[in-house]
Symmetry: C2
Subunit: 112 residues, 2 copies
């Protein structure tokens, strides 16, 4: 094992995949959304809006980005929508980051 990959279901996520998911995580509002969605709670858009001090359209955009990154699952439900964390996907990202760190810290070198 040399690169940060392996693990997960056997499909090694490409650098692009990981970068894409990390990009989805790289905005404060989206991190807060994830925290709000945490604990298995499923939220509708309005619930997030009330908590976030952003326009509804903006929140909807952020949610879309999270869904397209595969980190949040989406289910249109009558009037409301349900957004829910995809725990497996999130865990996979965490594993990717861990693997990256491990591979980077393998051979100890002298500090600068």
């Amino acid at each position: 094992m040399k690169s940060f990959s392996a693990r997960q279901n056997c499909r090694a996520p490409s650098v692009e995949d990981v970068a894409h998911k990390l990009a989805a995580l790289s905005h404060p509002a989206r991190l807060e959304i994830l925290q709000r969605l945490g604990g298995g709670r499923s939220c509708c858009c309005k619930e997030v809006v009330e908590h976030l001090d952003l326009a509804q359209s903006t929140v909807s955009q952020h949610l879309k980005i999270l869904v397209e990154a595969g980190l949040v699952r989406y289910a249109p439900e009558r009037q409301r929508s349900r957004y829910q964390i995809d725990q497996a996907a999130l865990a996979a990202v965490s594993a990717s980051v861990s693997a990256l760190v491990e591979s980077c810290c393998a051979g100890e070198g002298a500090d600068i």
Copy 2:
């Protein structure tokens, strides 16, 4: 403990901090740079350039972003420059992501 924080050295990184570091990680070229810097090797800019198929100025920019995010340390050395991974910082990011995932997966909920 309610938010994904705590852990680390006792200073809880803010959502903005984490987002900023994740943003630095959210580009394929920068992930590849980190892998190249992995294993304690310290690289000069040219070495990265030769490996990456990007213009020298572009690579320099990416390195700067990594340095400003605190993930890579920088030491101007005579003619060349030395870039080296900041393993502690990288580990901290990994821990933040893990903590986020854990806090999000706490209370199991029904799947969508």
